[in-house]
Amino acid sequence: MALGVYLSRCGGLVDAAIDVDEALANVREVAAVACVVDDVFDPIVVAAIESDIREGGVDAVVLAGNSAEHLSKSLSAGHLTRRLVSAGVNPNRIVVANLLEQVALAHPGDRIGATRKAAGIIDVAALFATMSPEVESIDLEPKRSVLVLGVTTEAMIAAQRLLQLGYEVVIADRGNGSATAASATVLKSTSAFVRGHARCKFIDGARLVDGDGWLGDYHIQIQSNEGSRRIVVGGILIARPDSAEWVAELREHFRVDVDDDGFARPLDPHNHPAETIDPGIMVVPVRVDGTAHRDKVAAADSVAMALVLRLSQTTVSHYGDTSAVDEALCGGCATCVRTCAFGACTLDENGRSHVDVRRCRGCGKCVVSCPVGARDIVSSPHDYLIEAVRSLSRVPVDVGHARVIGFLCGGCGYPAADAASEFVAQRGQGYPVTFMPLRIPCGGRLDTLYVLEAFKVGFDAVCVYRCRQGHCHNLIGNLDMDRRINLLRAVLRSRNIDDARLRIVDISPTEGERFVESVEEIYVSIASLTNGKGAAV
């Protein structure tokens, strides 16, 4: 395995806070390439990385700089990833080390501590890049058809655009949608065009009862006044994001972010108001009463275009972020079957666990519940996470300073840690630098063994971050984690170990201030504890 590490200065922000050469010192011993660049998105840098891949044999890449969340949302980052994949690196071996938001901006004024932490985070990313298995892609031709949920003015405009571009449209409404559309008083011609179109169907009184699949190929079972029917579409538009019922039904099968009312919430309301987590499902922004028609038209056009851009590709590749089964280990105890919230796990005729990849979301609950290690998630393998805990424990800290590990759920804690950089900038003071972040895909992925390992290797406390009630992208990953952690706390107490060393923090992705407070709280609460500290071994 030839590892390439590219540390981005991020326009000078990173090297303002850390010593970049020092941060790369450890990884230089194992990496084939380890260099500092101004910006990984710069075309010259991208070309240089491509050349390292094609000519230098680099097959695992660490991009140290911007946050993983930033990279997953940014179009230029998507472009960068595609370039590296086409040059020959497996997507599971392109790994981000978040130095900007969670180190450089989080710890101003502590250059030594921040540099050590940066080195630790790069080491963990290098572990990921070299330890994770290659993932195979599932390639498909996207279906040129779209399901629109709910009849609104925006829905009709978006449907019109899609029909004009040659797409099929199914409009499902909880009530009598076709009558609502027929009685439209504004944009009458749009409504008439859509209703009369040969490639458009209305389903009234609709309930979404089942679904599986992904961008380009969703299979959806709808119960309606006319009975039950199964439709196949390439994408979904949620035209009634304010319908808690639609959103709840969708969330049983697909990834949609929600707000406090249970309504569909765009992941990034400022830059991409249409995008949910699942790339084939879009939120049509519904404007408040009194919104000018031109704004509704613009919003509907924008969301239709966002979906068309994805569905107009000749091939969509899905890199299975799914659970895998090692049949040599699976004894068929069925804990994974019961634990899976999406019905993706079953036992096959031989009594071995089987994963329906079209339903699996890669949350990792089945991996945690599997007592023999027969399950693993390709994008967060067990062996990597255990090794990452050990690796983070080796980051040097000054004598007398406590070290804490934070397991950050990718849906809440990790973006909150990114958001914390803004709060740090506001108050001009960082949080304790010995807090070590480790990203996990879902709170439900937190294995008790990782917590035990963290204590064993000498962390003074363990913080686990999970989504607020009802907000978990995997429905109950957060509650599952609660049960495990609360049980473990009871066990710690029974062993005379203070359970204040193990803390659950519920958090939303934008709550940077809360993140900082939670970190500072744990340092305060463990400062007075003397018992139960682990030992580095």
């Binding site: 069925a334 634990t339 599952d480 495990r484 062993r495």
Partner: protein, 295 residues
């Protein structure tokens, strides 16, 4: 050419693994036909020879004498075979690690001083693997006779030895019903102690009936004899991945499928999840430091 030599050694334990070996009856003749038994509790020789092809070790390292003998075994052995959960995982005697040594000796010997002729106890019970490299491990309390014999035959003949890797559910005859249904409800309404139930269904999964069964967390190989007799698995064979903590995995697997009552049972997680694996678990490491911090 002379036959390979075999020694069997018992450290801190109940010698049940030797009894498991004796249970092979005529099968023992096959082993003795293949190898010369040069040292064992059966034949009464005192010292371990300097060179033995295969040494079978039973029991945990509990005293200084155990440790001395274990090191002698390793030095002598071509192939070292650890038999039983005491040797491999520390075993049930390892629960002594929960208490400080002074308390242990007080309970055992009262105020009287124990004889200086007895070996000195180590502060903690350890698995054999804590001190020496082991070539073949067969956990179980005690392991099935066939597993013991198969491991010894493999060691004597120099064949690679594979233990089963799946969990006990693979061997258990019971059928699952509610565990196979996708649901966010628990598989049972409550969790019961064995004696609380008037009737235990003989064919359906014990976990589904609300009994704490360690089957999912336990390596197969014993033939699931306990569950066949309506007794939940206690996990004596330990986890099928030795780097997994059976107690930690009990939390992970059972917290997801059993209701809160299970968690109350699990509060004695040490007795439930670590009954046979305490010395190889992470918990003693935490407790050790606690003691050293305080004293």
């Amino acid at each position: 050419m002379s036959k390979p030599t075999l020694a069997t050694v018992s450290l801190g334990g109940c010698e049940g693994c030797h009894v498991a070996l004796l249970d092979a009856h005529e099968g023992l003749l096959d082993i003795l036909g293949m190898a010369d038994l040069v040292h064992s509790p059966f034949n009464g020789t005192e010292t371990i020879p300097d060179r033995v092809d295969v040494v079978m070790v039973e029991g945990a390292v509990t005293t200084e004498e155990d440790l001395r003998r274990l090191r002698a075994c390793r030095a002598a052995a071509g192939t070292l075979v650890a038999i039983g959960s005491c040797a491999v995982l520390g075993g049930i005697g390892g629960l002594r690690n929960l208490s400080p040594l002074s308390q242990v000796t007080h309970v055992a010997f009262g105020d009287t001083t124990k004889s200086p002729l007895l070996p000195r106890l180590l502060p903690n019970v350890h698995a054999v693997t804590d001190y020496v490299a082991v070539d073949i491990s067969v956990a179980g309390c005690a392991p099935e006779t066939e597993l013991v014999v198969a491991a010894l035959v493999a060691a004597i003949t120099g064949q690679p030895h594979e233990l089963p890797r799946r969990n006990l559910c693979d061997e258990c005859h019971r059928t699952k019903n509610t565990l196979l249904m996708h649901s966010r409800e628990f598989v049972s309404d409550a969790v019961y102690a064995l004696m609380e139930l008037d009737h235990i269904d003989e064919d359906s999964c014990l976990l589904e009936q609300g009994l704490m069964c360690m089957g999912p967390m336990t390596r197969e190989g014993c033939g699931a004899k306990c569950t066949a007799m309506n007794v939940p698995c206690r996990g004596c064979s330990g986890p099928s991945r030795l780097d997994f903590e059976s107690g930690g995995k009990a939390v992970d697997a059972l917290a997801a499928i059993l209701p809160a009552g299970a968690l109350m049972y699990l509060e004695d997680l040490i007795g439930t999840g670590y009954r046979f694996t305490m010395p190889v678990s992470v918990f003693p490491a935490i407790v050790d430091t606690e003691e050293s911090d305080n004293g």
